[in-house]
Symmetry: C3
Subunit: 307 residues, 3 copies
Amino acid sequence: MLTGRDILTTKQFSIKELDLILKTATRFEQALKEKRVLNNLDGCIVASLFFEASTRTRLSFEAAALRLSGRVISMPEAAVSSLAKGESIADTAKTVDGYADVIVIRHAQKGSAQTAADYAAHPVINGGDGSGQHPTQALLDLYTIFKETGDVSGLTITLLGDLKNGRTVHSLSYLMAKYGNRMIFASPSSLAMPAEITAELKSLGGDVSETSDVDEALAESDIVYVTRIQRERFEDPAEYERLKGSYVIDMKTVARAKKGIKILHPLPRVDEIATEVDAYEGATYFRQAHNSIPTRMALLALVTGRA
Amino acid sequence: MLTGRDILTTKQFSIKELDLILKTATRFEQALKEKRVLNNLDGCIVASLFFEASTRTRLSFEAAALRLSGRVISMPEAAVSSLAKGESIADTAKTVDGYADVIVIRHAQKGSAQTAADYAAHPVINGGDGSGQHPTQALLDLYTIFKETGDVSGLTITLLGDLKNGRTVHSLSYLMAKYGNRMIFASPSSLAMPAEITAELKSLGGDVSETSDVDEALAESDIVYVTRIQRERFEDPAEYERLKGSYVIDMKTVARAKKGIKILHPLPRVDEIATEVDAYEGATYFRQAHNSIPTRMALLALVTGRA
Amino acid sequence: MLTGRDILTTKQFSIKELDLILKTATRFEQALKEKRVLNNLDGCIVASLFFEASTRTRLSFEAAALRLSGRVISMPEAAVSSLAKGESIADTAKTVDGYADVIVIRHAQKGSAQTAADYAAHPVINGGDGSGQHPTQALLDLYTIFKETGDVSGLTITLLGDLKNGRTVHSLSYLMAKYGNRMIFASPSSLAMPAEITAELKSLGGDVSETSDVDEALAESDIVYVTRIQRERFEDPAEYERLKGSYVIDMKTVARAKKGIKILHPLPRVDEIATEVDAYEGATYFRQAHNSIPTRMALLALVTGRA
């Protein structure tokens, strides 16, 4: 169903395709637990092109490829200069298309993954395109929600923090809308979800509301998805100082929230979740990080037709 | 015939050795097309040491090694500082010689690959040594010419652009001379082929002429090998502005050239070939880039005695 | 005996464990000589996280993993920024713990490897933690001493050069003390072995003396372990100029030393050993560098329970 397809945005998937991804990830995770050596990508080369900093996403994709016995050629973001040196993304894609069977690309330019996909014959997976999308993060978030709650619909989820600049929450919100979940956007007003995304979600039938009252939101939520608020996003430093505390999750916040609330975070976490929360059973963010492996294994295997 | 040998310069090869490389590359390309998993380098480690920027060459060598089931340890150019930190190339070569079965090295210093080869017991392949040679690029160019024209001799080839600084055209010209092809050097006079290379080519029996009339050259050429003219190579910016247009290939240039002319370029291409040319049947540069894989597979397999 | 264990410091090992490491390294080196393909780490992923410059150690660990058919995800020091970006070592360790079966970490912060080990369930190997320890270098030094002298005890060893800042000599001195060897510390007084280490070695029963007379020390030594004296370690440049000559090993030094003295050096060597010494039979430093492969293979195989 996904063989030969590119993974560019979460908007592209049907429920049936999403279910297939979840099912495949579940199967691979089981195999990993049983320490079975998988050979799905035997003889396949995965090109891992990171034009923008993301060691975490890069290592996770590469580990996923290797877990399936794939082989990896890797361009860490620091080595970018040479390949990027004045060359268009189209030319880079056409060249690397001859080296590899599937291309994972992260690039600061919005739309870059789409361009690469337009020019490469092999499947292209978007590892984050600037302020655009980060679909594989959202899919591992979905897989995490599925595993942690046993369901993907009928949920209330608060997206918390910097909703303006976070491509992760943008990508995830489309998936949540697709499954008919209720979404609460809790952010400082200057970092609210972009109006065009909110409008698009509503047009897709999304149940969306906005608030700046974090406690109220969490009191009704099965899940809170935390993102970091970066000081440099504020024009007025005083506003940052005034607001940042409200968006920090600690055990007091958890105590006021709906019982059993699951806390997700795409990581890296700096201080927006207190380390005391790590011991809380609903703190899923490290399990979530580990879910990147079976999820990305599923995507690599599905697009190459080897699941 | 090449087992245990270093690949340092295109001058080193006999016609018989070149034929073996072409034949081996052809065989590997066929295997790739049939999606056969090759195990020639099973258990071998290839060290990929890039002291100078060249993600493209690095990724291509690593993909070639992996296609043969080799294993790769990689130093991207950005990680150079530590290994290079005051250490001689000789010491680096002696050290890495204990880690790997074959060493690919790119280094800004002319003669660096020769030095590495002098000190390493395992085969060393020159991935570009400053203004010196880039023999594996020239060999994949040769393989491209062979595939695109069905022959390696009896051809007229124009080398176009910056012939002074381009190690790629230096390396290629020796191969062309060896096969008795006619060469036309078309460049601004300040970027002409170095006199000592022209002299050496002639002493080897090379049929060489020079011109600054691009159209005239292309009207007689089966092949044009385009290189980029970099602004910073000119002392006088006005001269750059005056000349650059003459060395840009677009469909008008193609219309004036010999019918069926094949256009090669080592890439990355910036604006010296208009993108409209990409659709032209004789535009071989992306196929040429892909030819790097079977050619470098052939070299790795031949020097390790596993072809 | 070492299955599931972390490798953090040379202080942690019993003689029995050290013997097992030496025996395992010997066995792997024999297999490498016979060009046998080993599959001990088949299906295992080794994470190679280098937050601090050390291409040599990184490539050697990765080659060791690959020699055992392990798979490698690699973060060269140059790619650090993203992973490190404000994230704690604890969080990084917990995340990567889900990607890999064993983690090799180098980080400028003393105690970093211990922290990683505290938070990761999989074994952590310290690849150098700032001014702390570099246990795997000391273990390959020990393996070198064992191979070159046929013994690990009953020896006199001079540690030469900058003993203050060299974590390599710190790590090695504990191993030498454990085996009851006699140690002579020969350094400029401003770069002497830290008093707390000397005291600890003595409390462990170490036979330790200090001198600034290099010739006298070498006249009694079976082994000299040379480290580099860096100009920037001196407050007074004149002192550096006055002293540096005394700590350079050339063939005149060798002539005055005990007959058959073995010269070790962790590399890279700059000018503290003259290249004329390379031809001397007792110059072991390149063989020592190559011993990193079987030693690190042994460590990776032992901690994963696959030796």
